[in-house]
């Protein structure tokens, strides 16, 4: 019965109902199915919401991003890339991917991110590079380039952070194994994140290389 909440989440997202309402409905149904009374569910949800406030702190960077954008940050990024020979989306995003993986691997996960670096710097530079490669891009193609920038940030973060000893997921693994009487040092766990980190770089890097090829083809097709 408690799985009803999961069904509501999946159905709600698939049917594109308002996500905030879907989440709340799922929480209420799950709690009721588990025999909690409505007020206890609301209190549990409120407590967790308060404890998770740190997730929403990141929005304080928006005034800086907005100020810089109003003063031409994206235009400047475009101008700079247009002058650089050999700068391509694929090469630039691969460089960012490696940088993001390395920063995350030494525990600096919040140094970069979607509001901090992707919106003000990575996405506009990627867009500018794509335009120099392919010529004028359609709106949907431009959107895809921006989405590539965000996707690359995620891949770099996810498959770099576990190399760091003191990241949450490594500590979670250590704690869980201890409950079953298996004692491990964080280092013994985090070295095994390295093979996957390399595989992520190769797979995503290969896809970015193909993105460059695709943009070159667009240029050839649309050439007068």
């Amino acid at each position: 019965m408690v799985l009803l909440g999961i069904a509501i989440i999946v159905a709600g997202f698939l049917l594109r109902f308002h996500p905030l309402l879907v989440i709340l409905a799922s929480a209420i149904v799950t709690g009721l199915a588990a025999g909690l009374d409505p007020l206890a569910i609301l209190a549990a949800f409120g407590k967790a919401f308060n404890e998770a406030r740190y997730v929403s702190i990141i929005w304080i960077v928006l005034p800086v991003v907005g100020l810089l954008e109003a003063h031409g940050l994206q235009e400047r990024a475009r101008g700079l890339i247009a002058k650089m020979r050999g700068a391509t989306v694929g090469r630039f995003l691969t460089f960012y991917l490696i940088l993001r993986q390395m920063l995350a691997a030494v525990g600096l996960t919040s140094v970069a991110g979607h509001p901090q670096t992707v919106r003000p710097l990575v996405a506009p530079i990627a867009e500018a590079a794509a335009e120099t490669q392919a010529g004028q891009l359609r709106e949907d193609e431009r959107e895809k380039i921006k989405a590539w920038a965000a996707a690359t940030d995620n891949v770099g973060l996810f498959f770099g952070e576990d190399i760091f000893l003191a990241i949450g997921s490594i500590l979670l693994i250590k704690g869980l194994l201890e409950q079953y009487g298996i004692g491990l040092e964080p280092l013994q766990l985090s070295v095994w994140a390295i093979p996957t980190a390399i595989a992520a770089l190769l797979i995503h890097g290969f896809r970015l290389w193909r993105l460059d090829k695709r943009l070159a083809r667009i240029r050839a097709e649309r050439a007068p």
Binding site: V2, L3, G5, I9, V10, L20, L21, L24, S26, G31, A34, L42, A44, G46, K47, A48, F49, N50, E51, Y54, S56, I57, I60, V61, L62, P63, V64, G66, L67, E69, A70, H71, G72, E75, R76, G79, L108, S110, V111, Q116, V118, E143, K146, A150, D153, V155, F159, D162, G168, S169, I173, L176, L177, I182, Q188, A193, T196, A199, A200, I203
Partner: protein, 311 residues
Amino acid sequence: MITLDWVYALAGAVFAAFALLGLADRGNPRRWTTAAFWALLATSMWAGDALGDLGNGVLVLGLVALGALGLGRGDGVVPPEVRQARADRFGNRLFAIALIIPVTALVGTFLFKAAPGWFDTKQATLIALALGVLIAMTAGCLWLRAGPLVPLQQGRRLMDCVGWAAILPQMLASLGAVFALAGVGDVVGSIVQQAIPQGSLLGAVIAYGLGMALFTMVMGNAFAAFPVMTAAIGIPLLIRTYHGDPAIVCAIGMLAGFCGTLLTPMAANFNLVPAALLELKDKHGVIKRQVGTAVPLLIVNIALIYWLAFP
């Protein structure tokens, strides 16, 4: 000592400014709900600890109601010609200011840890990030000769683009807490255990890796899936029955879960929020670009567990 509470106070002030500026923004057809939404979030930042659990629950109900009524977007876009002219005028100064935040976060993380009496070292990066925002905002206003309201106005404009999606990550984290309270994980674990083919090591490894990815997709978070799948398959089958190396099974199993994170709208802060922040028309545009990396990488992870953990 400077703790995360100081950062919450700053965040509350920023959201309060968004609310006040939004209220004055007549270009926004829904300025009342929009302003009320950011005001409630400011209240949560400022007074969350004083509200009590039920109080916070009521606050969430308010946020959801306002979000469901619909928030709007207002004015404030600077015309492209003006931005181009300013870009020519200010040049690389703009990059210098943009880099202040990441550089302060980087340097602060190390410096603060060297002065443990002054700062809550567990939260060093977030505190340094907030400091970086303050420095960058001040430097930006001085260097670009902008009034102090300009960054807040422009920040409000971007915040309106994100809209109610801004609290999705926090909402999903809270839903995870209710799931945990209701024992959803145990039920899923027992179902998974019944579904595994008996006597096949490869089958068990695939069930573990795939189960991690799928349950992460449902929960939006590999942290929620990991204890469930590891208790159901990882420990009893892979480690105890087949004598797999626990470090390899668990470390790579977690990363198989991360592949699931790339594929789900439930991981809102990584997948939906960036789409809103980059003003993409396709809400799932970021996920679509990630499928081609996540699926092959999941297969690689399953293969790595199979090869490395069972010599």
